[in-house]
């Protein structure tokens, strides 16, 4: 029998490609570690002088006199994130059920590109749109409706713009998750005499619940880290907001707005890096938790 032998060249080429692939993979897996290490190292400067508890729960933010209370930013971020989820979650869930259970094929054919295009629109465009449409709407229509005269640059504007931004992201996941519910389950339910709506409510949604929750979690983490669009419409006032019509100042906006002057004030850069670290850890937690939930749901 004649052996087909690898020429030395082909063998070498395989080794070369394999090494490059491995190096690339290891490097990319290494990056998050370097990222965390870098952020921790930078924020240590601040943490050495200020206890973490004080930083997180003080609302006194005056970098010039070296007081860094992150509470206004954390509270703003929470307000905006939760509010945006409250707006977008029902819309996404309803649309996902509509598209997977009721919609005709031509509707799907329109909706797929719509979702894709919406997902591809850059965040700065959402910001521009927010300034053009949402801010005037809040200031001229919604504010007076509640008897308030407001500028429109507010938590509500940020939340609204964000909710639109995370819709395509969550909707795509929800469609996949609901589609993954086995048909047999639905058929069994229908054959027992349940109506289509009862089947959706008690079988499809029930079965897809872990996936639905985790897609909301991922949407929330996306909202939490979104920067430019929110920054443009939220007003950026350092104060703990007490209502949705008030301006806020979320964490990502804090980082983005002050990058210019951060090197001229001592500890300022360290504080901003701590903000980035907080952002990273929160998003990481949400992501790991949600993805884990999806994985568990898939294997069961």
């Amino acid at each position: 029998m004649k052996h087909i032998r690898l020429t030395r060249y082909r063998k070498w080429r395989n080794v070369f490609h394999q090494s490059w692939m491995m190096i690339a993979l290891l490097a990319m897996l290494f990056i998050p570690l370097v990222l965390v290490a870098g952020l921790i190292m930078k924020s240590m400067l601040l943490l050495e002088n200020h206890p973490l508890f004080e930083l997180l729960f003080s609302s006194d933010w005056s970098p010039l006199s070296s007081r860094f209370g992150f509470l206004p930013f954390i509270v703003s971020s929470l307000w905006i994130t939760i509010l945006s989820l409250l707006i977008s979650a029902p819309v996404c869930l309803l649309t996902a059920i509509h598209l997977t259970q009721y919609a005709k094929r031509w509707v799907l054919r329109i909706m797929h590109p719509v979702i894709d295009i919406l997902a591809g629109i850059p965040s700065v465009i959402f910001g521009v749109w927010g300034i053009l449409v949402i801010v005037p709407f809040i200031s001229h229509q919604l504010g007076p409706l509640f008897g308030k005269s407001v500028s429109g640059y507010s938590i509500l504007a940020g939340a609204f713009v964000l909710s639109i931004m995370i819709i395509p992201f969550m909707l795509n996941m929800l469609i996949d998750i609901i589609k993954a519910v086995p048909n047999e389950l639905q058929e069994a339910s229908l054959s027992l005499g349940a109506s289509k709506w009862q089947t959706i409510k008690f079988v499809v949604v029930r079965k897809a619940l872990p996936g639905i929750v985790s897609s909301f979690g991922l949407g929330m983490s996306r909202a939490f880290g979104e920067t430019i669009a929110v920054l443009m419409v939220v007003g950026n006032v350092t104060r703990i907001p007490t209502g949705v019509f008030q301006p806020g100042y979320p964490l990502p906006a804090l980082i983005a707005n002050n990058y210019g002057e951060m090197l001229s004030i001592p500890l300022y850069d360290s504080a901003l890096m701590l903000a980035a670290l907080i952002l990273f850890l929160v998003v990481l937690m949400f992501n790991v938790f949600s993805r884990f939930l999806i994985l568990k749901a898939e294997t069961h």
Binding site: M21, M28, G38, L39, L99, I125, P252, I255, V283
Partner: protein
């Protein structure tokens, strides 16, 4: 409320929320174009900012357009030569190690979710550490860091659908795994790879938070990798923060340029993706 009316009620709601999503997309595109198109002019696309540009005088945004294209091309290229081999490695070399591959997918999925401002801050730390100034190169590296996960997962998804039998028969015929990767798997998943590149490019050109720290801003067109560069999203952002109306109008015009670029990329990848079926 009985089930019938409940279903009717929710069907109306579902229909409305679907309409809402389409309506919002139309509203975004139309309102930006409506505001931007009237101020868009040929000179804006072909000149760089002149002396009083930021006070509403002559000039254009060519610096930002070219800068954004340089940046996105560079970052996409870098992400591609890192991400493509990684995806191949996962699907050709590690094909037996299911748990490991799933763990890697998990990591990239999580990395995909990290906000770009965090990458921006990290890029800034790296720059300070290495003693480099804000430059096109720093921007390219930072942006590529955050589009690699997108690239890997998108290519990975299309490689996943290549039949396993192809790998086995090629191996049995004596092909090396690198030949299988680049000659067979990449060819099979060609359209998926192109779509992944376009997706990453779209992400790169639209992101502002990561380049804010790392790429800087300048009125000139960069001539080397070590020079700072303007980018379209930042140019929109800066012009819109101006109190002068003429400058704001130009921000809307710049937004029109950016949205058109992104729409073209979207349509292109849709067109390529559809040819598969």
């Amino acid at each position: 409320m009985n089930t019938k009316t409940e279903e009717k009620f929710f069907r109306v709601l579902m229909f409305l929320s679907t309409i809402f999503i389409v309506g919002v997309l139309l509203l975004i595109v139309v309102s930006v174009l409506y505001k931007g198109l009237p101020s868009l002019s040929f000179t804006m696309l072909t000149t760089i900012p002149k002396g009083g540009f930021y006070f509403g005088e002559e000039g254009g945004i060519l610096n930002a357009i070219i800068g954004s294209i340089y940046l996105s091309l560079g970052a996409t290229f870098l992400a591609f030569i890192i991400g493509w081999p990684i995806a191949l490695y996962m699907n050709v070399y590690l094909v037996k190690h299911h748990t490991l591959v799933n763990a890697i997918r998990f990591v990239f999925d999580v990395l995909w979710g990290v906000p770009s401002i965090v990458y921006g801050a990290f890029g800034f730390i790296l720059m300070v550490f290495l003693g480099v100034r804000a430059s096109l190169l720093a921007g390219i590296i930072t942006v590529s860091l955050f589009i690699v996960p997108i690239m890997v997962r998108a290519i990975d998804e299309s490689l996943k659908s290549v039949p396993r039998g192809l790998l086995e028969s090629a191996l049995s015929l004596g092909s090396t795994r690198s030949e299988i990767s680049y000659r067979i798997f990449s060819r099979e998943a060609f359209q998926g790879i192109i779509t992944a590149i376009l997706l990453s490019f779209g992400r790169a050109i639209g992101d502002a938070a990561s380049v804010l720290f790392t790429t800087g801003y300048t009125d000139r067109i960069p001539t080397s990798l070590m020079e700072p560069s303007a980018t379209l999203p930042l140019s929109i952002f800066f012009q819109l923060s101006s109190p002068i109306e003429a400058v704001q109008d130009r921000a809307y015009a710049s937004a029109t340029v950016l949205i058109s670029m992104v729409l073209i990329i979207s349509l292109l990848s849709r067109f390529i993706g559809n040819r598969r079926n």
